[in-house]
Symmetry: C2
Subunit: 221 residues, 2 copies
């Protein structure tokens, strides 16, 4: 039998979860108003409820409240933006026309980092040590979806040299920054992912990403 | 001003998103009934709506419908479980008492994999190539939260040798499996994370994971 689960939420609740998933966007256009501290607290709690490999909870968040430090973060990102443009070759000009971050404009900046001392955690990581990053990504996705429900925009910026950012924020050996998160009020959420709107890349059909029993088989319909 | 966002969802919708985040669990105890194919389709669509670095959409899903193949997946995982136990040393016996997967019991198995050809994607990955895994993790977290709202349990198993699993599923060079996802009906969702209930690890206070402007500063309160 394929009965509905007795643990299913009410229709309006189920729809709300799918709505947040569908309407979440990677935001680069912000209004300058600060976040309500209570909203920020709820978002961080949502992140902290993420799954983690072996329950290791490898996420750390550094809130950037110093404006001059924020400017230095922006400068690091702008340097990497130029380097990325160069590495892109023929798509260089197209890339340089994109707005890729809102670091100086948004109400709140969080840097998400992997903790130090991860080598002690073996459960679920002996053959896949990078599962710690997967856990941090799940925490960020929780934060992102909660932010969307709260009407707050978020962008994940990964255009930076992690070693340089680590030095700037005095990360201990073994820790590693993986995201500069821009959070804040917005004038609106993009209708589609911005990189799709700007024709950088297209949404691929889900059907082409599904297989049955082995990769080479016909896609699952 | 810290006004409420005009884009905020209704209270019941906001609460639903937080509820799914709070009640999601890594499930290892399943009932054998299959998933409704329409539910599975919705869950996969939710995964596909995840953010991805440079909109590269690096996730691929292999549905395991062949029971003998499922048994071989289980055998791979059991081998790694023994190796992990050995590597854990003094926590070996404690680890071996844990139920770490429900591969043979659950209604549906999906293997999530990184796609091949990722080296072509430079946007957001020049200095952090592992952002592709972060994107796949966000897709899995979407699927997980949607499943919880649908009343369906999910467990993420990372106890396997990715090269061996890749060979078993005929993954092309450059692709890499990162999760065996067990999905299915349940008799209930754990009150707390199972590894917390079983006292494998404790939930850490969020406050100890938050810093301001630099790692070494006093935790943010």
């Amino acid at each position: 039998m394929q009965a509905t689960s007795p643990f299913r939420y009410s229709d309006i609740e189920v729809d709300a979860v799918y709505r947040a998933i569908r309407e979440r966007r990677d935001i680069r256009h912000f209004r300058p108003e600060p976040l309500d501290p209570e909203v920020l607290k709820r978002l961080l709690h949502a992140a902290h409820l993420a799954p983690s490999v072996g329950f290791m909870q490898p996420w750390r968040f550094i809130r950037i409240t110093d404006r001059s430090l924020r400017a230095r973060l922006h400068s690091l990102v702008d340097t990497e933006r130029q380097r990325t443009a160069h590495a892109l070759g023929e798509r260089r000009d197209e890339f340089m026309r994109l707005k890729v971050e809102g670091i100086l404009d948004c109400g709140e900046i969080l840097v998400a980092s992997l903790m130090d001392g991860r080598e002690r955690h073996i459960f679920g990581r002996r053959t896949l040590p990078e599962m710690d990053l997967a856990s941090v990504a799940c925490a960020i996705q929780n934060l992102w979806l909660a932010a969307r429900a709260e009407g707050i925009g978020m962008g994940w910026v990964s255009l930076f040299d992690p070693a340089e950012l680590g030095r700037l924020l005095l990360l201990p050996p073994g820790a590693k920054p993986v995201a500069i998160l821009c959070l804040g009020h917005v004038d609106g959420f993009y209708e589609k992912p911005m990189l799709e709107q700007e024709k950088w890349a297209e949404r691929q059909p889900l059907e082409e990403m599904l297989f049955e029993n082995r990769w080479a088989a016909a896609p699952l319909r």
